[in-house]
Structures are given as structure tokens and as C-alpha cells.
Symmetry: C2
Subunit: 580 residues, 2 copies
């Protein structure tokens, strides 16, 4: 037996007990004949004491222990003279009588402290050491708690955890698949699932009624920051439901998580249509922890002699709270900020609402006090606020002002990690126009049903067709989304035709699903949450890597195990493959 | 809202309520102006009644509904005149007032009954219909329950569910890996994990202390019956433990499952060494639901003039209960059975223990009553039993007699699906000799530690070295296994050398693990259970396919979605690959 207690367990009530502990040497100090060691494991730290006067040999052995050595000790629990309220075990220390070195350690490449001196790349290469650090370990334990609560909640609601296959079929639609050559079926490939979408729909056709799974998904994308080629979804589907049923269940789940893992109680989540989200926040995942709602100013700002505005499709502004005091230098800097290529705006107009109720703007030449007062009303600006106005093509200017809004919130400390602002964004368009391919793409995926009332627009004005598709947004991040699905073969065929699939292609790729729809497919819908993102936001952080045990870097590499790697020629041969 | 109740919910207490149900038309009967429909969903069936005299139109519409049509109805709950005790809802029926057809169905290719008329291949192609059948659905729900209980139990014991990566590195050791070409790192490949073995060990090095995961694993093997290329493991690892700690935890888990999902209470599981399992049952996963323990007869049966036995390495027998009445024809058939190539024995000697205490054998010429009495004592044969004796090379004859033992148990109905006989098999050899490659292979895997007392044999008599490696066996099936791992770099290097790895190969493939061992790796060990097998045995069946939602066939194909499939040339190009 390696231990009678963990390193986080002993309390004053254990005083005088003989105990056995095992763990890592976290810290070691020599003080006039006494060696103090903080022994660490997952559960905490315990102070060990070696007294030279009591046992010289033992004390010398202890003094030689390096950081991260793994040891086992026996000793008596004693009251600590100077108690440490910050340690769970801070009331006691162990007077050690026996010491076994279980394993030595080289000097680790970085410290095991909460704030490590190791850079990202180094910590990833030695991820097994990084995980010893409290914040990383606690993040993984937090993730475990969230996963457990998700499963418990959904299972209690009658959802069945069904494992869907990982070796499936490639569909060259949407993102790129990772593929897996089949040795037994030479010349053929499996694909790893981008999501279990079709399988969960087939489970609904199969009468499973309520399905969930916490499941790995794969996307071979050129990685943007904070994306992983493999990621985890909370995947769900329900039969005989309307949108309202689905929103209720997953709002319940989210509320449960906020309560169980964060201790925050929530009532009904607000809802916003996609159109309103775009109009008032400039994007489909508004961060509503703070205000700064867009005010559209076309009617107020055009035809006042200011040419720049007159020519634009949309003039839109926000009121930044308490920033009327910005100097000329400050506002000039903001103008530079929006002109950076990442934002890409051509300029920025500002107007201050002074404390005395007067206005001062960068366009005073064209707009009088009354004009500016109207702007203030429209943007909901109060005394002391700074109104920032941009103009341009609707979609572009909305994206630019949204970026500025987030930046200002960041500067003002309004994006508080411990505040949670969930929001349903609903009524997404069915299709979106893709400038690259000059064609409509499915905004959600090709299995999303158009709203029945909009079906007639599919041929005449496809961009106008709305879907019963919804996203759950939290703190400006998309936590997940879903939709009511098509359950009718003819409708699915129509949809695929609109997405540019020939009948042959549709049959080859989704024939099994359309066949299934001919055998009594029930109405159904569902949703998927991104677990990595959900956990990181609940954990008050925004980097998903911090909540993944063994993440990959931005080139899709695992720098610890050094994967991917070249393959043996023999392995390639067996697969009937060669490199080009 | 599609339904106010499920089809399994209504009881006598609901009589006179107006309800709304949705589901599938399971069965339809016309009886003199009345149409009765069994409406089915996941939760049960409810009888619907349409009365021609009350509403002719509605009744005609109902009469036209085909099997598996999806409908929604409204109606009043009424007491049933002839109650059906076999149905949960058998006390009531619904007098339907409104009928909506949600989706039509073609005539399904097989019936949705418990005993379907569809063959395996047909049911797999239409798996979404097969899942509608009660036994398949209940198997999947049973699997869900087992998974939930496993997670709950382990989490309550302080285990943390940590997700390990799926895109890892290929190691051409053990079974074949499935590989995944990397587009971003051209010419390089990921591999899908055969198990998260190295990652869970790194989590122990990382101080996670107790890890578990229910995780998909992948093996590109030529599929034997009832193997799947992707399968699910309950994967666990613990730090600062000895074998005893691990056995206790997972015996506790198994006991918990037996109690929670089967209602069977168990005390301590029996344990048997690998050597005893081979000696007394002829294989390392003995089915101990029944007796027929091997009795070795060398000292009793040699040198009695029977040449066949005199020349053999091992003479060994079993006592088959109650089969002394076998006719000459019966025993001849048994001899034919053991001579089949699947068993491959050269013959079989029998001896009957008659009810009057006398003996009759196929070798009476060489063995007298006293000799046969000694055989009976050694094989524990009682009056009325049939002793079956085989001889040959030790390993071969044990395997042959083991096959015969299982066959006899099957014939006698001793392999009862609702009886559970768990057994720990311990003290496995570290290495096993592979006739094909003329070399030692790791019996468990290359990370298993030799028993400290046996380390000195590694160089002189490697086949004798035992490991702290163990399997949990249930009803003659290996449920899972594990071992105490090596946590010392030098020992790991020694082990890899013994397995034929050059130093360069060892470093290239397992360098990250051996590096990790230099930074304070704790003693650790663990185990993995095969979830598919565990669930099927707990479910009282032996075919894992029946407990997998979308299984593959013996060629590794998913016949429903028709995967694997050829890849687009463009996709191959992007990966820098071509077919040979």
C-alpha cells in the first residue's frame, strides 16, 4: 500500500496518527537543521518535516531530494506551530520517520507553479508536466464535472446515450473530412465524422425518440487560432418535437450546468431573431453581458451635407459608456484601430455627449446639437458617453462596428469572465450566399428544414427563406446550435438540388438517409453544443486548449508525441497507397 | 405539440382524458366497422379505436393506414372491454377523434416484431428499421444504462473522465493501426488509437491519479466473427497502486453493475492463476458457471500397455455429468466431433461410471476397474458421469479438451445466460512465444511490468517471467484486463530491447513516454474492459453486434451507408496520395 491518506486529506483531527503518504516533492527548504518539504498530489499538499537532530541519515537523504522526485513517507501527524490557512492541510505537518524514493526526476523544464515560467510550446511538449500544475489539472477536473452533469441531466430527461460509428463515409460537402484508407477494401476509404448528423437522424427514424452522445468530431480545416482538428460535441436529437421543445430541454440543461458547476441561477434565457442580432449587434452571436446596442442612423444622418454618409448603404453607431472624456489622441487611435486590415473600416465618426448635455463631434461642420441629440437618442447614449459611428455596405459595416463594440467592451472591462449572458438566436436563414463559389450554401447543414411558410420562396428568393434553426450564444460565443430537420424525402431532394447536388450525387452520398425517409420518418430536430467551448466559457476562460488534456497546435501537430509522422513503407504498401 | 403522452404512458387513471399521441402504426385490424390500431413508440404501444358509425370519414382514413405510417391522433381515453395484461397500456384504448398522417411508409422489408423475418444482412442494410424492433432498442437502452452506471461508479470513486486524442501516432507493434493522412503535414499520417494506453500513463505521470474514459478504439485486423474494427473500452488507470488496489476497484465496479442492471448480488470474486486456469480448464478464460475441471492422468494412465497414451506429453480428462448413458453411437459422434479440423484431436477415450459403481470404457483392454476408479477420482466423476480423456502435446491437448468441455456444457444447457460467473485470472506470463516470428511478444503490452522477483529471469528464461497482469473473465469470456506498468525508464528500455526494438526504434516510437519517466513518474497500473462484450454478456447474449447501434460486417463494411467507398480524386490529390 503506497498511502493511507492523500496529500490533501489530513486535518487537526488526525494529529498523532501514523500515516503513509506518496507524492511529488513540490518544494523543499532547509532551516537550521530542519528540512521542510511540501509533498504534492492531485488532492493537495502536505508539509513534511525532517529533523537532523532526530535522525541525521534520514534528514540528509531528505535534503538531497530534488523537485518532482516521487517519494513515499511514513510519519506522525503533528500540529503545526505556524498554521497555513491557505493550505487545506495547513493545520498539520508530518514528522517523517521513513522515506522511500519511488522515482527520481530530472530538473523539470519549467516550474509546477500556477503561473509557470514555461512558454506555450514548451508546456505542450511536456504536457504531462504541465498537467501537474493546479490550473491545468483543475480545468480538466472541471471538464469532467461538466460532462458528468450533462450526461446525468440528459439521461434523467429520458435521453439515451447511443454510440455512433467513427469510421463512416466521406461527403465532400461542408468542411474537409479526415479520411482513413481501408486495407480490407483496397482503394476505398472511411471518413471520420464531422458530426454524427445523419446517424442521429437515423436513430430518430429508428424510434429512439431522444438521443444524446458526448462525441469526438473531426474537421480537416486550415486551423484558425483556437480550433482543433478533433473536437468534442454534446450531440442530441429528439423526435416528435417542435423548435420550442428543443429550446426548452437545452435551456434546461444549460441552466442546470450554470447552477451545478457555477452556482448561478437563471430564469428564462432571452431570445433574439437572427435579423435582430445582425441589426442590433452586427453579428449572429452577440455578447449581451453589456449594452452598446447598434442604432441605425440613416434617416438622421443622411442628406445633411456630409458626403461620406450620403453615399453609404448603412450608417450605424453605438454609445460607449463613460468615454466622452476621450482626448483627440484617444479618438485618433480608435480611428487607426478600425482602419487596421483586421477590421478594414475606412473611418470612424465620433460624437461626445458632454456632462452638461451639449454635444461635440468630429462632424460638427455638418451636424448641429439637435442632430447629435437625435443620434444620442437612437444609440441610447447618456451623458458622458461616446457615440461611435461607422458607415458602409450593410454586412461589412455591421461586422466592423461589431468588432469595435467588442474592443470597447474589452477596454472597459465589460467582458467579465464570471458573468454569464446566455441568449438564443433564432430564425436563421436557411441558405447563405457564398461569394467564393457564387452559390447558396446551407447555413446550418443540408438537413435543416425551411420554415413551412417560406417553402414557396425557395425557387424565387432563396436567400429570404428562414429555417427553424437556432444557436445558443453565451458571452459572445456560439455554444452550439441546431434545427428542425427535413423528414420528407421529396423535401430533402429539393433541398439538395438547391444546394447544387445532382440527383446522382445526392443518391450516392445521402441515398441511405433519403431511403430511410421513405419508411416512416418522424418529425425530428436536435442540436449540438461544442463541449470544448462550453467548458472554457463556464470555466471563465476563452482558450479551449486550456481545457483539453492533449491539444494539437495550429499546424494540427501533437508536439508531445510528435504526430503526425511518416509511415512505414510496408504500411503504405498494405494500404495500396503511395505518396505522389 | 406532437403529443401529450407517450404510447407507453396511459393507464386506467387517465380514463376520460383527452390526449394527443404520435407514433408508428404497428398493427391494424378491421372488425366489423371498427378499426383497431396499435400505435407504437419507444415507450410502448397504445390501442386506437376508430368507429365507422361515429365518423365514417375518419374511420376510412384509418383503415387505409399502412404499417409503419407515422401518425398523430387526438382522442379520449376509454376503458378497454377486453384488457390486455401484457401491454403496459392494456387497460385502456383511445377513441380517436382526429388523425393526422405525419409521414407515410413503404412496406418495410421485414416485420418490426421481436422475432423478425429479416435476415442479418437485410436487417443491417435497414438498421434504422431494425432498431425499431423491441429487442434491438432494449439492447441499446441497456447499453446506455451500463455506461451511465460505469461513469457514475467511477466518478464517485474519484476517477476523472479525461478525453485522450484520436489522432495520434502509428506504432507498428501489436495489431495494425488505421491511419489518417494529414493534409497540413503532407506525407505524414496520424493513427487512430488501438487504446489510449500511453496517454493514460502520461496522465498518471501528470498527477491525475485516477483516470477513466469510455472510449472508441480501433484495430485494423482481419475480422474474426464478432469482432469490430472500432470497439469501445472502459479505460482506467490509477497511480500509487498495487495490483490489489486495482482488482478491488474494478471488482467493486463489476459487482455494482451486476447489482444495478441485473439485480444479482455477489461477494468476493474467485481468483485463479494463469497457470491453474491452463491446467484445470485448458485456457485463460475459463467458464466456471459449471464444473468439469480437468484431471491430469499421466501417473494413472501411462505404462499400462496402451501405446497411444504412453507416447504423449499429457493425458487429461473431464467428467461430463449424467452422460454415462451415452450409446456407442453417441460416443462415436463425440469422437468425430473432436476430430473435426476446428478441434483437431486425433481421438478420444471414454469411460462411463455406471449407476451400480462399475466402469465401462473404450480402453477396457488396458485398464481394469481399479484403474478407471482412479480416473474417476482424479476427474471428480460421480455415478452416472461420462469421463472423456484426451492426450497429446500439453498446449494442444488442453485447448482441445477445453473446446470439448465447452461443447458438452452447451449440450447440457450449463451455459446459462442468466447466470454470471466472474473470475480474476492473475499472474499472467510477461511474454509469450510467437511461433510465426520465432520471438517473444508482450502477452499484455510492452508497458507491463515484470514481477520484481522475476526480473532476473528476463535474460535467462524469459518465458518464465510473470507479470502483475490480470484479466477479468465472465462466463468464459474475457471482459477486460490490465497490469501494473513499468514506470522506470531503464526497465522500459530493457523491456523494449527484449521485444526486439532497436534503441532507435524505441526512441522514435516511445521516446516521449520514456522521457516522461525521467520526470518523476509514479508507480501506476490500470485496466480496460471491453464495453461491447461486457454489455452483451450482462445482457445475456454473446453477439456484440446486437449491442452496437450501427455495427460493421465481417469485411469491415457498413452496409447501410455503404462505407468505405472510393474517394474523389481531388481529395486524394489534396492529401498528396495516389493508389498504387
Amino acid at each position: 500500500m503506497y498511502r493511507s491518506h492523500s496529500c490533501g486529506e489530513l486535518r487537526a483531527s488526525n494529529i498523532n496518527e501514523t500515516v503513509r503518504l506518496s507524492g511529488w516533492v513540490h518544494k523543499s527548504r532547509n532551516l537550521g537543521g530542519m528540512t521542510f518539504i511540501d509533498l504534492r498530489d492531485r488532492y493537495g499538499k502536505t508539509q513534511l518535516v525532517f529533523n537532523e537532530e532526530v535522525d541525521k541519515n534520514l534528514s540528509e537523504k531528505a535534503a538531497k531530494l530534488g523537485r518532482e522526485f516521487v517519494i513515499q513517507i511514513e510519519g506522525k501527524v503533528a500540529e503545526r506551530s505556524s498554521k497555513n490557512a491557505e493550505m487545506l492541510t495547513g493545520d498539520v505537518e508530518i514528522i517523517v520517520s521513513k522515506l522511500i524514493i519511488l522515482n527520481a526526476s530530472l530538473t523539470p523544464p519549467f516550474t509546477m507553479e500556477d503561473e509557470s515560467d514555461g512558454g506555450e510550446e514548451l508546456r505542450m511538449k511536456y504536457r504531462y508536466l504541465d498537467i501537474r500544475r493546479t490550473p491545468v489539472r483543475e480545468n480538466l477536473i472541471f471538464r469532467h464535472k461538466v460532462s458528468m452533469e450533462v450526461r446525468k441531466y440528459l439521461s434523467d430527461q429520458g435521453f439515451i446515450d447511443v454510440e455512433t460509428p467513427y469510421l463512416i463515409k466521406s461527403t465532400p460537402e461542408g468542411a474537409r473530412d479526415f479520411v482513413v484508407p481501408s486495407r480490407m477494401n483496397e482503394g476505398q476509404f472511411y471518413a471520420l465524422p464531422q458530426s454524427p448528423q445523419t446517424f442521429k437522424q437515423l436513430l430518430m427514424v429508428g424510434g429512439m425518440d431522444k438521443y444524446f452522445q458526448i462525441v469526438k468530431c473531426f474537421r480537416d480545416e486550415d486551423l484558425r487560432a483556437d480550433r482543433q482538428p478533433e473536437f468534442t460535441q454534446i450531440d442530441c436529437e429528439m423526435a416528435f418535437v417542435e423548435q420550442e421543445d428543443i429550446l426548452n430541454v437545452f435551456e434546461g440543461l444549460t441552466r442546470h450546468l450554470l447552477k451545478e458547476v457555477k452556482g448561478v441561477e437563471f430564469g428564462d434565457f432571452p431570445r433574439m431573431t437572427f435579423d435582430d442580432a445582425m441589426k442590433f449587434y452586427g453579428n449572429d452571436k452577440p455578447d449581451i453581458r453589456f449594452d452598446m446596442k447598434f442604432g441605425e442612423l440613416n434617416d438622421l444622418a443622411k442628406n445633411k451635407g456630409f458626403n461620406v454618409f450620403d453615399q453609404q448603404e448603412l450608417i450605424v453607431g453605438i454609445a460607449v459608456p463613460g468615454c466622452a472624456g476621450y482626448s483627440r489622441k484617444d479618438t485618433d487611435k480608435l480611428i487607426d484601430w478600425v482602419k487596421r486590415p483586421q477590421v478594414g473600416a475606412s473611418g470612424l465618426v465620433w460624437a461626445k455627449v458632454n456632462e452638461d448635455g451639449t454635444y461635440k463631434s468630429s462632424v460638427d461642420k455638418f451636424y448641429n446639437q439637435e442632430d447629435l441629440a437625435a443620434w444620442a437618442e437612437r444609440t441610447n447614449a447618456k451623458k458622458g458617453d461616446l457615440i461611435l459611428v461607422m458607415s458602409g455596405d450593410t454586412n461589412k459595416v455591421r461586422a466592423q462596428l461589431s468588432a469595435l463594440r467588442m474592443e470597447m467592451a474589452e477596454r472597459l472591462g465589460l467582458r467579465k469572465a464570471d458573468e454569464f449572458a446566455p441568449l438564443w438566436v433564432i430564425d436563421f436563414p436557411l441558405l447563405e450566399w457564398d461569394e467564393d463559389t457564387n452559390a447558396y450554401h446551407a447555413m446550418h447543414h443540408p438537413f435543416t428544414a425551411p420554415k413551412p411558410a417560406d417553402v414557396h420562396l425557395l425557387d424565387t428568393d432563396p436567400g429570404k427563406v428562414k429555417a427553424n434553426a437556432y444557436d445558443l450564444v453565451m458571452n459572445g460565443n456560439e455554444i452550439g446550435g441546431g434545427s428542425i430537420r427535413i423528414h420528407d424525402k421529396t423535401m430533402q431532394a429539393t433541398m439538395l438540388r438547391h444546394l447544387g447536388f445532382s440527383e446522382t450525387e445526392a443518391k450516392a452520398q445521402f441515398g441511405f438517409l433519403m431511403d430511410a425517409f421513405e419508411y416512416g420518418a418522424p418529425p425530428h430536430g436536435g442540436l449540438a453544443f461544442g463541449l470544448d467551448r462550453l467548458v472554457s466559457i463556464l470555466g471563465g476562460q476563452e482558450t479551449i486548449r486550456d481545457f483539453i488534456a492533449f491539444p494539437k497546435n495550429n499546424s494540427g501537430r501533437d508536439v508531445m508525441i510528435d504526430a503526425p509522422a511518416p509511415l512505414d513503407n510496408a504500411q503504405l504498401d498494405e494500404l495500396g497507397l503511395k505518396m505522389k
